[in-house]
């Protein structure tokens, strides 16, 4: 359930708890990682993720009902191949 806080990375600054417009988090104080008290009230605005000072300490998982429906377009462009893929296809001789 979104969001997810990685307690091993979180420094417990509480900024996500303070800023969340939907009051999704609970926090016991400085140094403690906030917990996600109301996961199903998350709007997926990303404020916690964007404003977290520690890269990777917080993530938001897209719930399955909100999946992004997509299909390949009839006018799809061929995927851009990575140099590595081209090298492999070319037999590694590039």
């Amino acid at each position: 359930m979104p969001p997810v806080i990685y307690a091993d990375k979180c420094t417990g600054c509480g900024i996500c708890y303070k800023e969340c417009p939907l009051d999704v988090f609970r926090w016991e104080g400085p140094g403690r990682a906030p917990t996600v008290a109301y996961p199903d009230e998350c709007w997926h605005c990303g404020a916690c993720m964007v404003d977290c000072p520690i890269p990777g300490a917080i993530d938001i998982r897209l719930p399955l009902p909100l999946m992004i429906l997509h299909v390949e377009s009839p006018t799809a462009r061929p995927p851009v191949e990575s140099p590595e893929a081209i090298r492999v296809r070319a037999g590694g001789g590039m």
Binding site: K18, E19, C20, P21, L22, D23, A37, Y38, D40, E41, C42, W43, H44, C45, G46, A47, M49, V50, D51, I60, L62, P63, P65, L66, M67, I68, L69, H70, V71, E72, S73, P74, T75, A76, R77, P79, V80
Partner: protein
């Protein structure tokens, strides 16, 4: 049983009280402070990120004389195209005459209003017509405005939503708020000479496209019509409440920013479904769903859907421009989700859909060109305004205007005299309701009441079929539900208590919307009366103005109506 509900008997006193710290509220607060008023803002969340514009915007409706020439050309295009509907032309004109001043102010404060070095107008535009949506980089708009407010010594009370206005001798003199910064709620009293309501749109009143995910909406889901409901109970006029608004975007992840996409609509076989485009245009955006909200339903119902947003014909520059736009529109998370879901703008098309209704800008509180309501001491701005539809810009420009008016009044009037603020009937009503919800050991949750309301609104006051029979039944059911909620909802802490009061406001907005829908006996826009299936020319340019004439918070309202010509 929840915690006790304390009442702080010492009021917070200011010249101007602003209810809501979004774009409109912060602009009102900054302007009021700038002209010399002492200002307090009470905010449900945290003013740095709250509101529908909390993470950014990339379009600001703006008139620039050197670009557009005559203002009337912009006013005409505004009415014709994406913003249309029933609005006062005097308000639209007042908006545009002020818009460039506000845009320049934002630029001065550090919001990038011409990120590409010139005034660039793209999106929400029709082929061959003038464009008036200024493309800007607004990802930092809220943090910049919050800093400006602090710089002007505005006192911001976060986690403190207002739940009722205080009135004395016919004038608004403050508001009652619930401090929810701790688990134990505290009722706080705010007294002021004038009050500006800026609580945004009304969401969570119809079911989302994802029934199991209540907080899925293109606008901030904690914007629950608190301003509209408080204004109603204070006797303010509302207009256009019979016309719910429907937005569109990615089918199940409800987001704003449809004009930020560069691409055009296609059916599953790749045939064009766009009414205006046969190739992508970053200048126009994709205006079809601005004009024809029913496009997606129409394609589904006729077996030709679903409808997809196709970006595969974009140039690489277009795609870069679109991704940059989404970041500034506050759609950082959408971009991340698209990537994680494996969507490649060069290969895939993304299904779009029409979202279920909300009450957004252009249906709500009636104000004049100075942002005043008909109630003495009460002002309103932003997405809760009823007779102007200008979304982000409307909040910024009319927030500024309303803040200036509210301060002008505050600086020239006596402070309200309240002998015993804690004994004011509105304070006592809020306190007693709060205690009854918190004292219950068990009962229904606010969520049940919210979902039940959404069901009733969708089935009996929806956008497909309305009739006197259905609306009347819906009104009866809504009132029964309200009584059950008052008698049966239990809240365990301040968070749940705030949600419970949100639902009471949603019920008042819903009740008003049904009453208005009963009164407008014709079919127009989203108001589809099957018992009056025609658009009546006698009602063209006629606002249905409504006023709640009785009924305190949490009880049945009584309503009065009058028709007025738009001006």
């Amino acid at each position: 049983m929840g915690a006790a509900v304390d009442l702080d008997p010492n009021p917070v006193v200011s010249d101007v009280l602003v209810v809501g710290g979004g774009i409109g509220g912060l602009m009102a607060a900054i302007r009021a402070a700038e002209v010399g008023a002492g200002v307090a803002v009470i905010e449900k969340g945290d003013a740095r990120r709250s509101g529908s514009g909390g993470m950014g915007n990339d379009h600001f409706a703006c008139y620039i004389p050197e670009v557009h020439g005559d203002v009337n050309a912009v006013v005409q295009e505004h009415m014709l195209s994406t913003l249309g509907g029933l609005q006062d032309l005097s308000m639209v004109r007042a908006y545009y005459m002020k818009s460039f001043e506000i845009v320049q102010l934002w630029e001065k404060w550090g919001i990038s209003m011409r990120p590409h070095g010139h005034w660039e107008f793209t999106g929400h535009a029709l082929p061959g017509h003038i464009r008036f949506f200024l493309k800007f980089a607004g990802a930092n708009q809220k943090t910049v405005l919050e800093k400006q407010a602090r710089y002007h010594h505005v006192r911001i009370f976060n986690r403190t939503p207002a739940v009722e206005l205080l009135k004395e001798d016919g004038r608004v003199v403050g508001a009652v708020g619930i401090d929810s910064s701790r688990d134990e709620p505290v009722i706080r009293i705010f007294l002021a000479k004038s009050v500006v309501l800026t609580t945004g749109s009304t969401n969570r009143i119809y079911p989302p496209t994802t029934p199991a995910w209540l907080f899925n909406s293109p606008f901030m889901p904690t914007n629950t019509g608190d301003g509209r409901a408080m204004a109603l109970r204070a006797g303010a006029n509302l207009v256009n409440m019979e016309f719910p608004y429907t937005h569109a975007g990615p089918r199940y992840l409800e987001r704003s920013g449809k004009a930020t996409w560069v691409g055009y609509f296609k059916d599953p076989r790749g045939n064009r479904a766009s009414a205006f485009l046969d190739r992508p245009s970053k200048e126009l955006g994709e205006p079809t769903s601005d004009i024809f909200h029913g496009l997606f339903d129409h394609y589904r119902d006729t077996g030709r859907g679903p409808v997809y947003m196709d970006t595969t014909e974009d140039t690489d520059d277009d795609i870069e421009y679109m991704e940059w736009g989404h970041r500034n529109e506050g759609n950082v998370y959408l971009l991340k989700a698209l990537k994680e879901e494996g969507v490649d703008f060069r290969r895939h098309m993304v299904e779009f859909g029409r979202y279920n209704p909300a009450f957004t800008s252009g249906r709500g509180i009636e104000v004049n060109e100075a942002g005043e309501t008909n109630v003495e001491g009460l002002y309103s701005a932003g997405d809760e305004m009823g007779n102007l539809r200008a979304t982000l810009g409307g909040a910024a420009v009319f927030g500024w205007i309303a803040g200036e008016s509210a301060a002008g009044r505050a600086l020239s009037t006596e402070a309200p005299r309240l002998e015993d603020p804690a004994g004011h009937p509105a304070v006592r009503r809020v306190h007693s309701l709060a205690r009854s919800f918190m004292d219950r050991n068990s009962g229904a949750s606010w969520r049940e009441a919210n979902i039940a309301l959404e069901q009733i609104m969708w089935d009996y006051a929806g956008i497909r079929v309305r009739s006197e029979n259905l609306l009347t039944a819906g009104l009866t059911y809504l009132r029964t539900l309200r009584r059950k909620a008052i008698d049966g909802v239990a809240a365990a802490n301040s968070h749940e208590l705030v949600r419970t009061f949100e639902v009471l406001d949603l019920m008042d907005v819903g009740e008003a919307a049904i009453e208005a829908a009963l009164e407008r006996k014709e079919t127009r826009f989203t108001h589809a009366r099957v018992d009056y299936p025609y658009t009546n020319p006698l009602y063209t340019d006629m606002f249905l103005r409504m006023r709640r004439t009785g009924g305190e918070l949490g009880s049945e309202g009584e309503y009065g109506f009058e028709w007025r010509r738009r001006h």
